[in-house]
């Protein structure tokens, strides 16, 4: 028994869904497309009325201008090093602490976990002035260390990995203990390898967060050669306030590495960041 009017209305519904989704998707990508198109235009083309949609030629000079006005290689390296050290620290320290909070009994556990929760519930800006003063006091402003500094430990990472460890059956740890593992071996050889998905999610989350962060790198590293991509771009904004093709070229260069990684590891990015959701 087929109800043709019902089928027709369902078909209309599906078409409507596609139309709305495609329109929304176009709105979402339009800024990116506009960015790419503009990055190849001349200033005259970008400022023309009525607007010129496509550049007359691929003007790579805009990218050259962006690279000569900002030390992009250094920004890439600085950003990569900052992300690398923050990820290593977050994963190593948070895994250890997450394991201990989830699996071990020790006095002071609740109090110490309270410190973790406190950090998570306060905005990072509340720590920024004293953190800056510490870095300045140590004479370490304008260094990679300064960029990494607030991210050496990750309260969120501890909280997130603790959840993961709590999901691992206790028997596996007991089996390892009976098999002859020390506490450290149980953690390192048996438990840690089981948290791969969560560690990947934390890695992506930490990397994207560090990459996007703006206030701290602006505050702590004023030397252009020690800036990150984000803070470096902020200075480009003032320099080329009307030369939009160069600004777009610079922004594209800053975005490119993360976007490429994202397009390669879409599934891990989306699911990883979504699984850390709520922060």
């Amino acid at each position: 028994m087929k109800n043709s009017s019902l089928e027709a209305s369902q078909k209309r519904m599906t078409i409507l869904t596609y139309v709305v989704l495609i329109a929304a998707a176009l709105l979402m990508v339009f800024p990116f497309i506009w960015m790419i198109l503009t990055s190849f235009k001349t200033v005259a083309e970008s400022n023309a009325t009525p607007p010129v949609i496509f550049p007359s030629a691929f003007r790579w000079e805009n990218f050259r201008d962006a690279v000569t006005s900002l030390p992009f290689i250094k920004l890439y390296i600085n950003t990569a090093l900052m992300i690398f050290f923050r990820v290593i620290c977050a994963v190593a320290f948070s895994s250890m602490a997450g394991y201990a909070f989830a699996m071990l009994e020790f006095r002071g556990k609740k109090l110490l976990f309270g410190i973790v929760l406190m950090q998570m519930s306060l905005p990072s800006q509340i720590f920024i002035i004293p953190q800056y003063q510490m870095v300045a006091h140590m004479g370490l402003a304008n260094t990679i260390f300064a960029l990494v500094f607030p991210g050496i430990v990750s309260a969120f990472g501890v909280f997130f990995l603790r959840q993961t460890y709590m999901g691992i059956p206790k028997e596996i740890g007991e089996a390892a203990y009976l098999d002859g593992c020390t506490q450290w071996q149980t953690f390192y050889k048996v438990m840690f390898p089981l948290t791969g998905t969560s560690v990947a999610a934390l890695t992506i989350f930490t990397a994207v967060f560090a990459y996007s962060d703006l206030m701290w790198p602006l505050v702590v590293n004023s030397d252009l050669n020690m800036m990150t991509l984000s803070s470096g771009l902020a200075t480009l904004r003032g320099q080329f306030s009307t030369n939009f093709p160069v600004l777009m070229a610079g922004s594209l260069l800053a975005m490119l590495p993360m976007v490429v990684l994202y397009l390669i590891f879409q599934k891990q990015f989306i699911e990883g960041i979504a699984s850390t959701g709520g922060k």
């Binding site: 028997e171 596996i172 007991e174 791969g196």
Partner: protein, 396 residues
């Protein structure tokens, strides 16, 4: 190869610790237990005394929360022993680390390492002991052959069925050639068919490896078929220790009599009488003189005539042809099971289960009984059990 001595082993969970600990077995429904509570905490195991001989197969059995797993975990070294002494081969091991106790354990949930292959899982305990590579290889392959899992050595646990995982878990335990092999409900995650099969495998395994077994289960069939001796526990106390036959034939108390044996034993309110120096039991208008053995046992304890609970197993109930010195009952349900018939009957308001062969000794079929029919029941004096007011078997 080791003898174990458990002397007054006690486990108390302090009050301050969360109650969660007392019921650490996952999967088992949370049940209210009657564990003793003292000032120090909840007593999960109370003065557990047991001497286990070398290469003996001991089964700890009881309902959930009876302390059987806790006892096993104390032997393993996963739980601290609150009181008493644990000896392995005459050596006090209360404070010895599990890895130095020379024990191995098989968990209910298998607890295999998901990121390691079957081979790596089994080699892991040996690697930790810095066993030479060739020796590891030899022993893993030997154990794999015993358990018939050689073809799965390169697989990860995820790619195995429940029964195969269980074999790997056993394999990981036996590669270490432990003196004592502990098994915590190893079959309860398997389906019924596989469970029967694995039970037979464990019996075979026992013939192949020379070690002492301690096996925890809530399943009486496993207890009866596997154990040299079984230890029946309830609420942290040992109820009875004995061979399967002993606990079946001579249950020490009401609990044991009800726990062992399927279907459950029938109970009647009865009287113990002593007529001319002979003990007899009387239920309603049925009086049965007890066997010589029971006479002797009761006399040895100077048992006085009293009100008792009389227990008779369903298969020990007998159908009499004529009424007179019998119990009369009405059939509610009659189940033909092939070679035998199960009657669920009502005897003066009490439910009684009776199992009789489909064909009696004269070759006469008795499957002609139907619901509503009257039965005349009796039993012989050597298979009934006499329990006093406190539930204790008066023969003990």
């Amino acid at each position: 190869m080791a003898a174990l001595n458990l002397k007054g082993i006690t486990k108390i969970y302090p009050h301050s610790g969360d109650q969660k600990k007392a019921k650490k077995k996952k999967g088992e429904p949370e049940k209210k237990t009657n564990l003793q509570v003292t000032d120090q905490g909840v007593v999960a195991v109370q003065s557990f005394n047991l001497d286990i001989a070398d290469k003996e197969f001991i089964v700890l059995v009881g309902p959930s929360g009876c302390g059987k797993s806790t006892t096993l975990r104390m032997v393993a070294g996963l739980e601290e022993i609150s009181g008493g002494e644990l000896y392995i081969d005459g050596k006090l091991v209360n404070d010895v680390e599990p890895k130095n106790r020379n024990i191995a354990m098989v968990f209910q949930s298998y607890a295999l390492y998901p990121h390691m292959t079957v081979y790596e899982n089994m080699a892991f305990p040996l690697k930790l002991r810095k066993t030479p590579k060739e020796e590891i290889d030899r022993r893993v392959k030997e154990a794999a052959a015993i358990l018939d899992i050689t073809q799965y050595l390169d697989r990860k646990p995820k790619a195995l069925s429940g029964g195969q995982r269980q074999r790997v878990a056993i394999g990981r335990a036996i590669v270490r050639e432990p003196k004592v092999l502990l098994m915590d409900e190893p079959l309860s995650n398997l389906d019924a068919k596989l469970r029967n099969q694995m039970r037979a495998e464990i019996i075979k395994l026992r013939q192949k490896i020379n070690t002492t077994f301690i096996y925890v289960t809530h399943d009486q069939t496993e207890a009866m078929t596997l154990g040299d001796r079984i230890v029946i526990m309830k609420d942290g106390f040992i109820q009875q220790i004995g061979t399967p036959q002993e606990v079946f034939d001579h249950p020490a108390n009401l609990f044991v009599s009800g726990f062992i044996g399927m279907p459950q034993m029938n109970y009647f309110n009865a009287k113990l009488v002593n007529e001319g120096g002979k003990y007899a039991v009387s239920v309603e208008n049925c009086k049965v003189v007890l066997s010589e053995e029971k006479q002797k046992n009761l006399a040895a304890h100077n048992a006085a005539p009293q009100d008792i609970t009389l227990g008779v197993r369903p298969s020990h109930m007998v159908l009499a042809r004529q009424p007179g010195n019998t119990l009369s009952a009405t059939i509610d349900v009659s189940e033909l099971m092939g070679s035998e018939v199960h009657f669920h009957a009502n005897a003066n308001g009490k439910d009684v289960v009776v199992i009789v062969p489909t064909m009696n000794a004269d070759g006469e079929r008795i499957d002609s009984f139907h619901a509503g029919d009257k039965l005349n029941l009796t039993f012989s004096g050597n298979v009934c059990h006499i329990f006093g007011k406190d539930g204790r078997n008066l023969e003990f």
